[in-house]
């Protein structure tokens, strides 16, 4: 009688065999019904992508082009379907963005193309696809990843948008700076308002939540950097636009508050080792507007200093801030019409669009730099919780 002895890991070739008729069950259990917040929390990052790739390797190994084609089509359509259904859930979108990228990286890493094999172990090189060149499918997956990225940005924007004006402009954390309200009164009113009001702390907490979700899903570090840059752009653009439309936000003390808030955002970047991702630079127009609120605005020298300081603001934006500037105590004064004229004259020759408000809907182009994995496919085990008992490790 045969005795069931478990195979040793080194005997596996990093493939998963499945019957054609089980393909729908595979995508159903692994993509459509997988809950990122439930079972998936304990999985190794990118496991669904590795499992799908190991199935694909087997279809390639048995030289079945139809099986390869239908698996890729079912995978891509299932990811699109789940994102249509749960596209407003940040966790779902982040989970499938990272898995789509991992699947794409696997298709490159094991393509047999030498440019993608530089970091492979000899064993990984043995695991390259044998029969098919899937370069065209890689392009389709990259298009899909772009779509998911854009969905992730929209999703994140929907969550952040309502927090920005309140947290960056309205809520005052520096006590006693604003001269118009007695401290005691402000404290009382803000404690009532606070119940439904977002603070800078809420924004920072939300940024940390986004970041930790993406890390948990094994999102490529280079991709996280691009998401964070986009988040900071939205925060900067929405804040600046509101400042440009509200007289009550154009005072010396608001300038102080904004600079403090920006410093806290920078501190958050430092804490997450993201100082070099280009996020801080997207806040430059806001930083300059805050500085403009605080510098002297009287003499020709002041005008010259403002013109060289505010190189990220358009003339229309500079003039608008100066026009809206409102003194809140006796030490400050309105900006004179003559001073604003001087500024306009000095900036006359600047080549720029007469843009007042920033476009908050701009999305920076995304890239998915190749990020090979050191994980050995033959070592991957499938947890029973995924209900994929019909797959056989080969």
């Amino acid at each position: 009688r045969p005795v069931n002895i478990p195979r040793r890991e080194k005997d596996f070739q990093g493939m998963l065999e499945y019957k054609q008729e089980d393909e729908l069950k595979l995508v159903k259990n692994l993509i459509l019904e997988l809950k990122p917040r439930g079972v998936a929390v304990n999985l190794i990052p990118g496991l669904p992508a590795y499992i799908l790739f190991m199935c694909l390797r087997h279809a390639d190994y048995v030289n079945d082009d139809q099986k390869v084609r239908t698996l890729l089509t079912s995978t891509i359509n299932s990811i699109k379907k789940i994102l249509k259904k749960r596209g407003d859930d940040f966790e779902t979108v982040s989970f499938w963005l990272s898995n789509t990228c991992r699947f794409l990286h696997c298709l490159k890493q094991y393509s047999g193309d030498e440019s993608f094999m530089k970091h492979n172990t000899p064993k990984q090189n043995e695991h390259c696809l044998s029969n098919f060149d899937l370069a065209e499918y890689r392009q389709v997956l990259s298009d899909l990843a772009i779509q998911i990225y854009q969905q992730l940005i929209k999703c994140m924007e929907n969550i952040l948008q309502p927090m920005i004006v309140s947290g960056m402009l309205e809520h005052e954390t520096i006590q006693g700076v604003s001269g118009v309200k007695p401290t005691g009164l402000r404290k009382r009113t803000s404690s009532i308002a606070d119940e439904g009001t977002y603070t800078l702390e809420s924004i920072l907490r939300q940024l940390s939540a986004f970041h930790s979700t993406m890390c948990q899903h094994g999102t490529d570090p280079e991709l996280i950097k691009q998401v964070v840059k986009q988040q900071f752009y939205i925060i900067g653009a929405v804040t600046l636009n509101n400042l440009l439309l509200r007289k009550d936000m154009c005072s010396w003390s608001k300038g102080m508050q904004i600079r403090y808030n920006v410093s806290q955002l920078e501190e958050w970047l430092r804490d997450k080792s993201l100082m070099m991702c280009g996020a801080k630079e997207t806040l430059e127009p806001l930083i300059q507007a805050a500085q403009l609120l605080q510098v002297k605005k009287k003499t020709d020298e002041d005008a010259e200093a403002i013109c060289s300081l505010c190189n990220c603001l358009s003339t229309a934006q500079i003039v608008k801030v100066l026009n809206l500037y409102t003194p809140v105590n006796e030490f400050e004064e309105r900006v004179s019409v003559a001073f604003i004229r001087t500024i306009q004259t000095r900036l006359r020759d600047r080549c720029e669009t007469p843009q007042l408000l920033m476009d908050t809907k701009v999305i920076y182009p995304v890239t998915f730099p190749f990020n090979p994995s050191s994980l050995a496919l033959e070592s991957i085990q499938i947890p029973g919780s995924l209900n994929l008992g019909f797959l056989t490790r080969v």
Binding site: S74, K80, G112, S130, F132, D133, V140, L144, Q147
Partner: protein
């Protein structure tokens, strides 16, 4: 390991849109 001399066959891929049109979930989706 596959022999280096044997080239892999390029599988032509449909676009994302074309893939959606071959909806594999047709039965499940219809009312």
């Amino acid at each position: 390991t596959r022999p280096a001399s044997r080239p892999r066959i390029l599988l032509k891929a449909p676009t994302l849109q074309e893939m959606e049109e071959m909806n594999i979930f047709e039965d499940e989706d219809s009312p």
